[in-house]
Amino acid sequence: MQTVRINNLTKTFNKTTAIDNLSLDIEKGKITGLIGADGAGKTTLIRLIIGLLLPDKGDIDILGLNPFTQKPELVSKIGYMPQKFGLYEDLTVIENLRLYADLKSQPYDFEKMLEFTSLTPFQDRLAGALSGGMKQKLGLACTLLGTPEFLLLDEPSVGVDPISRRDLMKMVRDMISPETTVLWSTAYLDEAHSFDTAVVLDKGKCIYNGKPHDLASTPQEFEEKVIELMGGYKNEPSKIAQNYTPIDYELECSVVADNLEKKYGNFYAVKNNSFCIKRGEIFGLLGPNGAGKSTSFKMMCGLAKPTSGTARIMGIDILENPAKARSNLGYMAQKFSLYGQLTVRQNLEFFAAAYGIGLLDRKKRVDEIIEVFDFQTVQDQKSEDLPLGFKQRLSLACALIHNPPILFLDEPTSGVDVIARREFWNHITSLAKKGVTILVTTHFMDEAEFCDRISLFYKGEAIAVGSPEELKQQAHTSTMEDAFITLIKESGK
């Protein structure tokens, strides 16, 4: 039995071909992972399957129905969770559930669902005030209402921590029946490796459709194989790092957190946080959503005022002299925070000016950066039109424009595909070797392995500090992900 039958499907937007003569079958009762680089056509394919987009050419047959002509019948059999979860942020948890129950003509029977998502204590909280992991669970709960025959999840695990990711997987596996078909688009290849089937898309074509275990037996090998299928990744020396001019200084620690504390009323968002990052070290801040990583980050670069304690950047107190301290660091924010309406070149020029590069040097520096980052072909494009991987590279370019000795990266690779992530980390590790001090947060545990030292954050406090190896030993586990989960669970007891 097939849930999805697609024959010679084509879909174009203006001039770009999103889906290119694609033929694909998805078997009923299986969990299928949908993998591919940014812009490979994953979201477009999902939207075509449920009839949210109309195809240019080709046939789609979903559960024996045509999404073009029989959308009303089709949608009552499917559950779809879009990338932004589709939650009403100004409605409470229970109000969101009631709304979707009404839309799907289901009874108000949420007890099991709330229990399962551990949202019972938060049912009267506004969805907008939930942490990323909880939003995702609520989104999934709304999608699962009415026990759909076919579940479609579009990158549900972007930006959530490993524990929430595991919970989500468990939730899906426990809530569905053996007849339910699941199509799960993901950037996590370890996730995809655990599914029944993997479909790899590349430039709108299906380049692999089969059992993940047929491709490789371990998640690591699977990742290598998928990268190979997508055209491979050449580990070239980083031009960005080569172009970096090291700065000489005498300090032992370039970044110091000195008893940082942030209190909201009686609640400690960050408590007693101290660390010292040496020159050229990659220091990772890890922890579940809402543990206080972002708050720490904001205090470190002077964007939030600590209740007590302080931070020193290159020996300069961030509270006493924020402008001077900040001039030593490059900052890359979680969301794309450049000016979308400006071109690549204009963004670089703006940030060069903002970081105080004089008018005479500015053009030279911008030209240099454009050359080093390979922006020649896109320099006059509006930055909002760039693919995600380019946007992320542009953010890094803007952070590095003034050749800073320190880089702060807040979830820099969230939502970026595996090849772009590899390239990115190649630059970061090479920069560190040239003496750049790096503070980074991430939810990808394979990225955590690149860190020299990690501070594991939970409920506002650092519960473990050490190298990835030390943390794994401390938790008696073999992978960083298991170490993360074990250490958090132990400290919760």
Binding site: V75, Y80, G86, E89, D102, L103, K104, S105
Partner: protein, 369 residues
Amino acid sequence: MKILTALIKKEFLQIIRDPSSIIIAFVLPLLSILIYMYGVNLDSVKVTLGIKNDDANSEISTLVKSFGHSKYVNSIVFDNEKDLTEAITRSKIKGAVIIPNDFSTKLSRAQAGDLLIITDGSEVNTANYVQSYSTAIANGWLNTSKFQRFTPTPVVNSELRVWYNQDLNSHYFILPGSISVTMTLIGILLTALVVAREWERGTMEALLSTRVRKIDIVLGKYIPYFTLGMVSMMFNVFLCVGIFKVPFRGNYLVLFTVSALFLFTLLGVGLTISSKLKNQFLASQVSLGIGFLPALLLSGLMFPINSMPKFFQILTGILPPRYFITFIESEFMAGTVWRLVFVNAVFLTVLGLILFALVYKSTDMRLKG
């Protein structure tokens, strides 16, 4: 039906949680009525005049006195021309009346006496007042002075009666008119945001993947904002009639029925903008441009339509506020005029239905691409 109820319930929850809709529906009317009540005044105001009397005749000094007694004028007496000129330049006085030295002589000879009235043309409105007040005071004086016998008996004796607004109090038509401005804001600006918001936040994509029908989405927006608008309308009327004592001579049922039709057309404008643009920022700009500003400037509230250029007069024909303002001003001040009610109601209904069809047509059930 259940789906529609759920959508309406959801929309109401969002309205209650969103401070901006409450501000637009209840705080803004209060503010605008206060401003129109105490800030804006289109009525005649007391003007300060300078008087210079060059006529030594004692009878003429009573003319100077009657300027002093007038309730429309503050008069300051000047002795020399230099001071007078300077007072005008410094805007201490808004105009001046100069009585020449042969004024009484000419009058006693039954000739026309010349009065020089100087006005400040940089403030046209005030200049008109200065002219008409001075002439009226001088004529009034003439009728009671001893020179009266030289003036011919007027052939036409005009009597003035002001209908509908005996006190010529401009608040009585501006306050009801301001209701239309508030209604335009709720009907166009607020609703222009709501569909665009669903597209921006990705909730529309989730809605479209359920069994929601097009008519559910459309009515799910019309009904809640219609209700909000009508509640705000009642609040406005209460403020005008209950608090600020604007006389209401019409029929409340007629008032609210036509208001409902007006709101219906406005919602059509707002929702069309929102469904077409799918972007909150753009939608708010466009709704200010094509909704709010015409309602303020081209509806006849501020400037009479028949004194506009022909092109704009025709243009006002497609603006809902134009029909509503004519209606609400007459409903408040003159009472129900059935012919007027009927004409405006028909126009509003036709416009409203056309817009409803447009909203229905521009509501996308699929993503664009």
